[in-house]
């Protein structure tokens, strides 16, 4: 065992010396490799953290949301609907919600106007999301005017700004009183945008949804789990786009690695011949080259992963933010909770380190099994 360890130490020593001898080439390779791992790790860490964040924020949302459909489109909930739902067993609490979209020509962005269920702002006051606070330069007690779809100008006072922590889903929010909301959008009295239901027993959520569909055939129940799944698939889709773009980089790296791996330089082949002639076994040569590949790929993996971690969790993934977050034009700005998933790291490791180490070994093995007498013919 001691002898084996001593041999491995010698092999690693020689490998490090070899890497240092071809400094420029190996540093170039290491750089490209690290950038690739950095990009892949950034995308996966970021989307994973976003999904976690969305799940965390949405955990407090209602179990079921009921929308009314007319000709396959979302329509207002008319009066009398709530009474019908109230008779369904299992529904613990129910509230009509008022919300809508408003296009602000100044920032060229859509805001979500909403009446909060609890502690709504006083008449003439609004509470805004952090992105709005930034884009319109608002602060507490500032006044702001919005022209409604009917053409009338409505002026509000900013009573508060929503906390940063919830920015992922509240970036573009404008909270106002029911009275202001109905006046702004000319919303008919007794009508609601949708209905939020609380179901006491989580096992009953699906049953309640089935009963709702039977009692109100024109209603569409949306379950919280489905919303979470939609978020997940949106992020998956965005992740897919970035990965598709990155595939060109991955391909380029693949070519580079293959080129390096398959195209052993004449100098490297000569060295392998010398080592074999002076008493190194084929296995020693392969092990030495294996260590070389492993050292490069492991260093690149660790450096790339750490850089991606810092990029995502300390610099808010500034490089990929626009594509991955994509919240209209009001990008949420928030600090993601650092989270590393073991399986994710293992997958990334498997797809970056293993192919390189394997690609390097094949040509080395070919070179290593040749007869060492070639060195005699110099």
């Amino acid at each position: 065992m001691k002898l084996w360890l001593a041999k491995q130490r010698y092999l690693i020593d020689f490998t490090l010396a070899s890497l240092a001898r071809r400094k420029t080439r190996n540093l170039g390779l290491l750089f490209v490799y690290t950038v690739l791992v950095f990009m892949l790790a950034s995308v996966t860490l970021y989307t994973h953290a976003l999904r976690q964040e969305a799940a965390r924020v949405l955990a407090a949302s209602p179990e079921v949301i009921v929308q009314r459909m007319v000709a396959g489109r979302h329509d207002l909930i008319p009066p009398g609907y709530m009474e019908k739902i109230g008779r369904i067993r299992g529904v613990q609490k129910m509230e009509g919600r008022l919300w809508g979209y408003y296009y602000d020509a100044v920032t060229k962005a859509n805001y979500t106007f909403m009446v909060p269920a609890e502690n709504p702002p006083a008449a003439g006051e609004i509470i805004v999301g952090p992105a709005l606070e930034r884009s319109r330069g608002l602060a507490k007690n500032n006044g702001i005017s919005f022209r409604s779809y009917s053409g009338k100008l409505h002026t509000f006072i900013v009573a508060d700004v929503l906390p940063q922590a919830s920015e992922l889903v509240s970036a573009d929010l404008v909270l106002m009183s029911e009275q202001n909301f109905r006046a702004f959008f000319d919303y008919p009295a007794g009508h609601y945008t949708d209905i939020a239901l609380s179901v006491a027993n989580p096992q009953e959520v699906r049953n309640v949804a089935v009963k709702l569909a039977a009692a109100l055939p024109d209603a569409r129940p949306i379950l919280r789990d489905e919303v979470l799944r939609t978020y997940a698939s949106i992020y998956d889709w965005r992740e897919g786009i970035v990965l598709a773009l990155l595939s060109a980089a991955i391909l380029a790296f693949g070519i580079l690695a293959w080129e390096k791996a398959s195209g052993l330089s004449a100098e490297e082949k000569r060295e392998i011949g010398i080592l074999k002639a002076i008493g190194w076994e084929t296995g020693d040569v392969i092990k030495m080259k294996f260590w070389e590949g492993l050292l490069i790929s492991l260093t690149a993996f660790l450096a790339g992963f750490v850089a991606a971690y810092v990029h995502v969790f300390h610099f808010a993934a500034s490089l990929f933010e626009p594509v991955l977050k994509g919240w209209a034009v009001l990008y949420p700005r928030f600090q993601l909770t650092p989270h590393i998933d073991g399986l994710q790291v293992a997958t990334l490791f498997f797809f970056t380190v293993v192919p390189y180490a394997a690609a390097v070994l094949v040509p080395i093995w070919k070179a290593a099994i040749t007869d060492p007498d070639s060195v005699m013919r110099g």
């Binding site: 002898l3 010698y10 074999k276 002639a277």
Partner: protein, 225 residues
């Protein structure tokens, strides 16, 4: 020490350009003697040296090392024999560029796993013996031809082999350096090592150090002195 019987070696066997580099060699190399293989280019000297040094296998025939047939041994065993019993001095020196003289010298001992301190002490001793201690940390590409050859000799001796094989050792040296090499050869012979070399340099083959000269031509032995 080494006996060869019916050695034949073909290159590109079975193809249009098949070529027999050695054609029926029967030879015995005695221990503790300096033997030289002499012959023109293409006579098969180097090929014979590679077969004796376990760098290649004969196509036909047997090689016996101290009575043991080694011609059919798997590569791993041949490598072990090569590492433990032979030391090589190549015509082009074949040092690894970018490494220091000291690092080059201890390379053949890496697979043995011997303690590094022991290897360095032995390398220092060899360098001092060849008056090259002051160049221990110099990269080999910075060394002169003569110095490179002395590093190559030290490397050949690091595992303390019984037999030293040298291929055209003076081909890249001027007369003065060739003379120095013969001096080193003499001291190696004085240590009781068996030395086998190829050369067509009169300075080598006509030297008193060389006890036996074997002439070759067209893959065959011409005379057996």
């Amino acid at each position: 020490m080494i006996e060869l019987s019916g050695i034949r070696k073909a290159f590109n066997q079975g193809r249009d350009n098949e070529y027999w580099a050695l054609d029926g060699i029967d030879l015995s190399i005695e221990a503790n003697k300096v033997t030289a293989l002499r012959g023109p280019s293409g006579s098969g000297k180097t090929t014979l040296l590679t077969i004796i040094g376990c760098l290649a296998r004969p196509t036909e025939g047997r090689v016996r090392l101290e009575g043991e047939d080694i011609s059919g041994l798997p590569e791993r065993f041949l490598t072990e024999i090569r590492r433990k019993r032979f030391g090589f001095i190549f015509q082009q020196f074949n040092l690894i560029k970018g490494l220091s003289a000291l690092d080059n010298i201890i390379l053949p001992a890496y697979p043995t796993g011997r303690p590094r301190r022991e290897l360095l002490d032995r390398a220092e001793e060899l360098l001092a013996g060849l008056k090259l201690a002051h160049r221990r940390n110099a990269k080999v590409e910075w060394l002169s031809g003569g110095e490179q050859q002395r590093v190559a000799i030290c490397r050949a001796l690091i595992n303390d082999p019984e037999l030293v094989i040298a291929d055209e050792p003076t081909a890249n040296l001027d007369t003065h350096l060739a003379g120095e090499f013969m001096g080193i050869l003499e001291s190696l012979a004085g240590q009781g090592r068996t030395i086998l070399l190829t050369s067509h340099d009169p300075l080598v083959v006509e030297s008193d150090v060389v006890q036996r000269v074997i002439d070759m031509r067209d893959g065959k032995l011409i005379c057996h002195e």
